[in-house]
């Protein structure tokens, strides 16, 4: 990180304390994010977003407020500190606030920094070209997607003796392949270029596109459904959000009031893990500077607890899980314990049912009850006698999230890390076989 960013962040913290802040946090970020977007087998756009900013939090006399510093010099820092303290004083108290973590802390080094990403330009174009060709070699007619890579540096200082810094790299590749009326979508996620399985993702997407041509309308009803990691992760993303104590309090959680009870089948175990190797969102520390850890959320179907920061933990008489968010605790990377089945064995276990490779537009009628629906997109197939058969279309999963998790019958052994449009929290998951999933479709 540029020295002036760290110096200004530390200076701003001192200014806030001099002006009477009881607690203060300054969290500076500097990032360079690159993207190649492609469509119809050609590059549609290349882009770079270079940005630096610092999130500034202050607590004073029971009141809390935040702002962002975008220009890193002492004049701007002085002005921001004065404005923030004045703004905070004008507010009503926040009795929910109960403090930030007391440092200092030691942090493990983050091994997942890839220095190759700082000058990837020509290689990135070549990677996109090879992946587009790989999908086409499988029979795809058209491809669309993105390749994104970036570097980020962070520096965090707090009024409670925390000083933390880290740097990280990330890569994301997404390719949707189309062949006539068939399509397949796969993603690849990593923190190092050498770990990014982009070509495999492209080949699999191309293969799915070809296999899913000529789909027919499936009938509504209850089906045994094998969810691919991509589709399962879209559902689990909502479970990660529901595990935040903020969601519980705000009325956005189908886990509210269910701690210690069965919220999923005994086959299902899930953690949130800020330390996950190659985890897209892995971080050495949370937004208070607390070293991250692996937290068991659901153990053999039983909800073990919620995600907390220091303040929410104090209010709920528990310990922080190192998931700050200063206002709302957030999951880092969701990790599902693998099962023992290959994908083919899951099809065999299902006997007759559906294989759904992707979903989108997951929307809730009621976050507290968990009633929702989501729409399968891309390749979906009927399973007959344990084998994939006819491609199908026009489906909707109309379900209840807790009920769905309780119906998980078996999990695959091969996991993939997924992130994307509707998977804001990265999810490392195998495919899942879920029983008696309610499928609806348009009526006329």
């Amino acid at each position: 990180m540029k020295p002036e960013l760290e110096e200004t962040a530390a200076f701003l913290l001192r200014q806030l304390l001099e002006k009477g802040a009881d607690d203060a946090v300054v969290h500076a970020h500097s990032s360079s994010l690159h993207q190649i977007k492609f469509a119809n087998n050609k590059v549609a756009k290349t882009g770079i977003d270079d940005a630096a900013s610092a999130i500034v939090f202050v607590a004073k006399n029971g009141r809390t407020a935040m702002t962002t510093l975008k220009r890193f010099d002492r004049e701007q820092a002085t002005e921001t500190a004065a404005k923030l303290v004045k703004f905070t004083s004008s507010l009503q108290p926040n009795p929910s606030y109960a403090g930030i973590a007391e440092g200092s802390f030691k942090y493990p080094s983050v091994p997942d920094f890839d220095s190759n990403l700082t000058s990837l330009e020509d290689k990135a174009v070549d990677l996109v070209e090879k992946c587009v060709n790989a999908a086409r070699e499988q029979g795809a007619e058209r491809t669309a997607g993105v390749f994104e890579w970036g570097t980020e540096e962070e520096f965090l200082v707090t009024s409670r003796s925390v000083e933390a810094r880290q740097e990280g790299t990330s890569l994301y590749f997404s390719l949707r392949a189309m062949a006539a009326d068939g399509s397949g979508h796969k993603v690849a996620v990593a923190r190092k270029l050498s770990s990014l399985k982009a070509r495999e993702a492209a080949e699999q997407a191309g293969e799915l596109a070809v296999k899913s041509r000529n789909p027919v309308d499936a009938k509504a009803g209850n089906y045994e459904v094998v969810f691919d990691p991509l589709s399962f992760s879209c559902l689990l993303d909502t479970a990660g959000q529901a595990a935040s104590i903020f969601s519980v309090e705000a009325g956005f959680s189908f886990f509210a009031g269910k701690q210690g009870t069965q919220v999923a089948s005994p086959a299902f175990t899930m953690w949130d893990d800020g330390t996950l190797e190659q985890g897209f969102n892995s971080t050495a520390f949370d937004d208070e500077g607390v070293p991250t850890r692996k937290n068991l959320l659901i153990d053999k179907g039983v909800l073990k607890g919620f995600l907390h920061n220091t303040s929410t933990a104090k209010r709920h008489e528990t310990q922080t899980t190192a998931n700050a968010g200063l206002v709302a605790p957030e999951p880092w990377n969701l990790v599902v314990e693998p099962g023992r089945h290959s994908l083919e064995e899951l099809f065999a276990e299902a006997k007759n049912g559906l294989y759904i490779t992707n979903v989108w537009y997951t929307r809730f009628q009621n976050y507290v009850s968990g009633d929702f629906s989501t729409i399968p997109r891309d390749a979906a197939f009927l399973i007959k006698d344990g084998e994939l058969t006819q491609p199908v279309k026009g489906l909707r999963v109309s379900e209840n999230m807790v009920s769905l998790l309780k119906k998980v019958k078996a999990l695959g052994r091969d996991r993939q890390q997924i992130r994307g449009w509707e998977v804001e929290t990265p999810v490392l998951t195998p495919p899942a076989l879920i029983e008696k999933v309610r499928i609806t479709r348009p009526v006329s």
Binding site: G47, D50, M66, E121, E249, Q365, N366, G420, R441, P442
Partner: protein, 475 residues
Amino acid sequence: MNRVFALHEDLADYCVEFALSHGASYAEARLEERSSTGFLLKNGVLESAAFDSYAGIGARFVLQGALGFVAVNQLTKPSLEKTLSTALKVTKASAKIAEKTVFAPSFAKKAKHEVHCRRSPEGVSAEEKTSLLRELDSAVLASKAKIVSRYVSLSDDVVRKYYSNSEGSRIESLTPYVNVFYAFTVEAGGKTAQRNWQYGASKGYECFGEWQLQEKLRDEARAIAKNLSEAKPVPSGKFDVIAGPEVVGIMAHESVGHPYEADRILGREAAQAGESFVKKEMLGTKIGSDAANVVDDPTVEEGFGHYLYDDEGVAAKRKKLMTKGVITEFLHNRETAAALGCESNGGARASEYDKEPIVRMSNTFVLPGDFSEEELLAEVKNGVFIKNFQEWNIDDKRLNQKYVGSEAYLIKNGEVTEPVFQPVIEITTPALWSAVAACSKKVELHAASCGKGEPMQGINVSMGGPHCLFKGIRF
């Protein structure tokens, strides 16, 4: 115009010059300065309060036919030059496999546009803003329903933009926005139900006087409690449906606005936002009834998606998407217009300086008919009135959609009678728009944030319409 903004304007112009001097055949830059505040009241406690101000430049250029984009928020010449130089290098490398970017012609414009407001967000104190929030929170409690969670947020922005391109356009604009989101959970009869909704306007705080939100939130909480206690499921069968403006608006947005976006039709957003059942050859095709008329109109001042110039400097205009059930116009930016051999109709928008402008909706709504609401009701002997909804979704080609009613009632012999529980419309797009039989005279617009693009861009839009009668909807 303040001194800092003027300095930043020079930097935006410099981006255009720099790209041109390094081989670009076209360049444009958007300077955006935004000042914002935001407040969140959760179960009556002010858990979050923030202010923010920033400036950033987003610039696009065409180099050897390939399109490049940069965004920077450290507004100095060295910082801009460094990012632009790297971007030019990547874009040049991509040219061998890039789509040749062609923009439809557009006349260079020099213009200034300011949305005037009576109470600018910058002039309203934090105390007053939090007091407004507290009034909304109290209104939910005043319903006397059993409320198990409350979440109310208020945010505002004042956005100053300067657009400059290599064809000579120079456009300045200033737009205020005020935005309220609320969510609450009601419990009755051993069940819960939720209401989440948004109000927003390209205005100042005078909008609170127009919205009358306290009354609305109180009545909504009461209606949901009554629904939970008394509602029965809709019997299976075909019914005539009167949908309120909130429901009609989401239908227009999802199954008319989105599939008519030309970039979807051409496959540019295929990876995430998806494609469209509408093909470029389908202009002139009838897919709805004569009563179905839908427009997208950024010039409507009260809409949350209001603007007069888009983010490519093209003048905004009303787009007649569906006229008497016929597909009559697509939404375009300059790139899709060139591909389909027409002029851009001013649909290019970027959510913030750090996103590329893509084809977006603005204020999308069903045009009014000539019925009063009472006359619409009188048309229905046995039907369902769906006032508002919670869950909805639609497939990525915009054909298969679902809307689940929240506050809903049976209609018997032209009268709204007992509540019904969560009626589900699950229908294809042609079937939906072919069922429109009549529309009322009064149009309501509702605010929303529309998601599209990769990276995702959430953008202010409004959606709405009159009350509409749909014949023969199957439940």
